[in-house]
Structure formats: structure tokens, C-alpha cells
């Protein structure tokens, strides 16, 4: 009974509203059509925006990834060359020699060891010269070869010192 009453009230209200629909506005059917068209245009704009964003993403992200990896490769190779002054075993050998000779061991004063230490000192000077050249010219193959020769020589000299002590 109560539900019927509510229905009647709603129907009465709708009829009243229908009567007061402004005459200057387009017919309700046309209005709906316009709303549907406007809605689809909005969707189209959204779709275009998404497409542009996706295209930018496709172009920019790989470029950034490639640039970062390029820089990493370059700095890794520079780091590799700049760390080639003395290998870890040679460094350990030099530390051993320093510790051994810190106690004024008689072997350290021998002419053979002194000569080898002088040799090492002279080759270090040449190594510094080559490192400066490499800083200027980059990883020039000839300069790298020169550096390798000195380092090989230094390794042999260090070995000779250790064997003599």
C-alpha cells in the first residue's frame, strides 16, 4: 500500500517536470545524442594522450638505458687502465720487501738489492711519464704496450729482489 503511494508520488513529480522542460532547449532525444557524442570525443582525446605518452616512453627509456650502460663501460675501462700500476701480488711483494728491510736486514744493503731498487725507482719514473701520456692521448695501443712493458719489467725486478733477500 505504502509502495503504491510512493510510486504515484514519483510519477506525479515526473509529469510536473516534463511540463516545465524549457522550450528553447533541444528535444530531450537530441540532448542525449549530444551527450553521447561529447562522451566519445572525450574518450578519443584520452586515447591520443595515452598513445603519445607510450611513444615517448618507448623512445626515451631505451635511450637512457643505453647512455647509462655506455658511460659505465667507458668508466670501467678507464678504471681498468688506471689500476694497472702494480698488480696485487706485486704490491704484496713490495710490502714484504719494505717490512723485511725495515729491520735493517743485511741483505737489503747488498749491491745487488740496491741496484734492483734503483732500477725499480727509475722504471717508476718512466711509468709516471707514460701515465701522463695516456691521460692526454687516451688508451692509445702503443702507450698501453709501453706501460705493459714497464710493468712486466717491474714484476721481474720485484721477483729478483724477493729471491735475493
Amino acid at each position: 500500500m505504502k509502495e503504491h503511494l510512493v510510486d504515484d508520488i514519483i510519477k506525479t513529480k515526473i509529469a510536473v517536470l516534463d511540463n516545465i522542460y524549457p522550450a528553447e532547449l533541444p528535444a530531450p532525444d537530441l540532448l542525449w545524442e549530444m551527450l553521447v557524442v561529447r562522451r566519445s570525443q572525450k574518450h578519443k582525446r584520452k586515447r591520443i594522450l595515452w598513445r603519445v605518452a607510450a611513444s615517448l616512453l618507448i623512445l626515451v627509456v631505451p635511450a637512457v638505458v643505453l647512455t647509462i650502460s655506455f658511460h659505465k663501460t667507458n668508466s670501467a675501462s678507464t678504471e681498468r687502465f688506471s689500476n694497472l700500476t702494480t698488480s696485487t701480488p706485486a704490491k704484496e711483494a713490495l710490502e714484504y720487501i719494505s717490512r723485511f728491510c725495515a729491520g735493517n736486514n743485511i741483505s737489503c744493503a747488498s749491491p745487488a738489492v740496491r741496484e734492483l731498487q734503483q732500477d725499480l725507482k727509475e722504471s717508476s719514473t718512466k711509468l709516471s711519464e707514460i701515465n701522463l701520456q695516456i691521460q692526454l692521448y687516451g688508451s692509445d695501443a702503443r702507450l698501453i704496450r709501453a706501460k705493459t712493458r714497464i710493468e712486466n719489467h717491474q714484476t721481474r725486478v720485484i721477483k729478483a729482489i724477493v729471491q735475493t733477500l
Binding site: 616512453l57 618507448i58 631505451p62 638505458v65 691521460q135 692526454l136 714497464i150
Partner: protein, 296 residues
């Protein structure tokens, strides 16, 4: 939307996989070449002073020098390559009896790093009997068909000599000298931290070596004297019995063919060999320390 995501990840994958190939970016090389003919009298000297240079010198029977110098700069950006090409120079000067050819790298003061790969190539045709002085640092040289005097001064350089006679004096450090068909009248070398690989056909040889590695094939030489410290010496005579040997090694070892090992004498830390097959045989006199003497 799903399609776009698929395209994005596919592109990323392709770019990632092709990265090693992509890393080989296209490089541009620019060159500048100079060619000259230079008259030279028989008693005149060519003095070449090279730095980071490749030198190819061949003897010929004409009475002038044919010179070709090529400067190259390589970089991905041609503008940079062209700019740095201008940093390479050469000079050619005549002073009394000497013609001096020199190359140099000259940079503006604001330049603290070279971005291109710079190369210098000097190609020379040279009268074979004339006197040549060759100084090279961080470079390499190929010298052939010369019969005049050669003076070499090498630092961190490689040298190949072939079909050379006349007199050779060599000073080298951290260098490698290789050669064949060496028919000199005399060869005098003072070297340190260098490597020699030579095929000696004729002449007298004197090596003063320190921290070196000498590997010599010996044919019809007159004498070989090696006064060395901490140097490995390896000799390959055409026949062991074709030479006389005077070998001394302090703190090091001597190796002979197995049938001659009994000739090695040891006194304390010294090993020595004295072998004279025939008085007319050429003398091989080697002294070294700590390293090894090997006669094959």
C-alpha cells in the same frame, strides 16, 4: 593498451640485445698527406726523429729521398677529428750534411685531452748506401735493403730490419728489435729491458745488455760478444761445432745440447764453459748474471 605495452617491451629487448653491435658506433677518419722528393748527396745523413710514429723505410738505388707523411685522426664526430688533425706536424730541415725529419704533436694550452685516435705514418724511399739515424719513441719502424751506416735510438718502440749490411749501432730501452738477413760488418748494441730476435748471417756483434732477452740465430758470423747483466741469452748456431764458446754465468745457469753438458763447469755460484773446436771458428763470448744462457 596491451598492444602498446607489448611494443614497448619488445623494443627494449631488441635494443638491449643489439647493444654490443650498437656500441661500435660509426667512426670517421680524416687524413692529411704530404709527399716530397728531397735530393741527398752520398755523404749526407738522414736523421729521423719520430714520436708515436710508424716508419717504413726502404733502400733504393736513386739519389734522392722520396717522402710521404700521412696524418690521420679518427673520431665518431668528424668535426673533432678535423680539429685534432691540425695538432700533428712535421718539420724538415737541412743543416750542413744532415737532413732532419721530425714529427711533433702540438696542442693549444687549453687542450688537456685528445679525443681522437691520432696516427702518423712516414713512408720513405732512401738511397741504400747513405747514413741513416733513426730515433723513435712509442712507435714502430720497418727498415729494409740498406747497406750504409744505421744508428738507432729506440724507446718503447719496435724495429724490424731486413737485408741490411754496413754498420749498425743500436741503443734501445723497453723495445723489441727483430730482423733477418743481417749481413753487417759490425753491430754494436747497448740496450736495457729490450728483446732481440735476430738472424745473423755475417759480421761481428757486440751486445751490452741489461734486463734483456736475446735470441739469436747464428750463421757465418765472425764473432759474437755479449756482456750482459740479468739477461737471458739463447743462441741457435747452424751447427754447435761451428763456433768456439766462452760462456760465464754468475748466479745463473748454462744449458747446452745434451751431448755437451759435461763441458759446463761450476765453481760456487759461477757456471762456465770453454769450448774450442777449431782455432778458425768464430768466437761466441757470453757473460751474464742471474738469468740463463742456452745454446741449442
Amino acid at each position: 593498451m596491451r598492444n602498446w605495452i607489448t611494443i614497448f617491451f619488445t623494443t627494449l629487448t631488441i635494443l638491449h640485445v643489439s647493444r654490443p653491435l650498437g656500441a661500435q658506433s660509426v667512426v670517421q677518419t680524416v687524413n692529411r698527406t704530404t709527399t716530397k722528393n728531397i735530393p741527398i748527396a752520398p755523404n749526407e745523413i738522414l736523421n729521423i726523429i719520430g714520436e708515436k710514429t710508424s716508419i717504413i723505410l726502404t733502400g733504393w738505388d736513386k739519389n734522392y729521398i722520396q717522402l710521404k707523411i700521412t696524418f690521420s685522426a679518427t673520431h665518431a664526430d668528424k668535426k673533432i677529428a678535423l680539429q685534432e688533425l691540425e695538432f700533428m706536424h712535421y718539420s724538415l730541415a737541412r743543416d750542413k750534411r744532415t737532413i732532419e725529419l721530425r714529427n711533433a704533436f702540438i696542442f693549444p694550452s687549453k687542450v688537456d685531452q685528445i679525443r681522437s685516435k691520432l696516427e702518423v705514418l712516414i713512408e720513405i724511399m732512401f738511397p741504400s748506401a747513405n747514413h741513416l739515424i733513426l730515433k723513435n719513441k712509442y712507435g714502430d719502424a720497418d727498415v729494409r735493403n740498406l747497406s750504409g751506416k744505421i744508428d738507432g735510438d729506440l724507446e718503447f718502440s719496435d724495429l724490424f730490419i731486413s737485408h741490411v749490411s754496413g754498420e749498425i749501432t743500436m741503443r734501445s730501452s723497453y723495445s723489441e728489435i727483430r730482423g733477418d738477413h743481417i749481413l753487417v760488418s759490425s753491430f754494436v748494441s747497448e740496450d736495457e729491458e729490450s728483446k732481440y730476435r735476430l738472424e745473423l748471417e755475417k759480421g761481428s756483434y757486440l751486445f751490452s745488455s741489461k734486463h734483456c732477452d736475446l735470441d739469436l740465430a747464428v750463421n757465418d758470423v765472425e764473432s759474437i760478444i755479449i756482456d750482459a747483466t740479468r739477461t737471458d741469452v739463447t743462441l741457435h748456431p747452424k751447427e754447435f761445432g761451428s763456433c768456439n764458446y766462452q760462456l760465464l754465468n754468475k748466479e745463473g745457469k748454462i744449458y747446452l745440447p745434451s751431448q755437451h753438458t759435461s763441458a759446463i763447469k761450476k765453481e760456487g755460484k759461477e757456471s762456465s764453459v770453454m769450448l774450442k773446436s777449431k782455432p778458425t771458428n768464430p768466437l761466441i763470448n757470453i757473460k751474464t748474471t742471474f738469468n740463463t744462457i742456452t745454446i741449442h
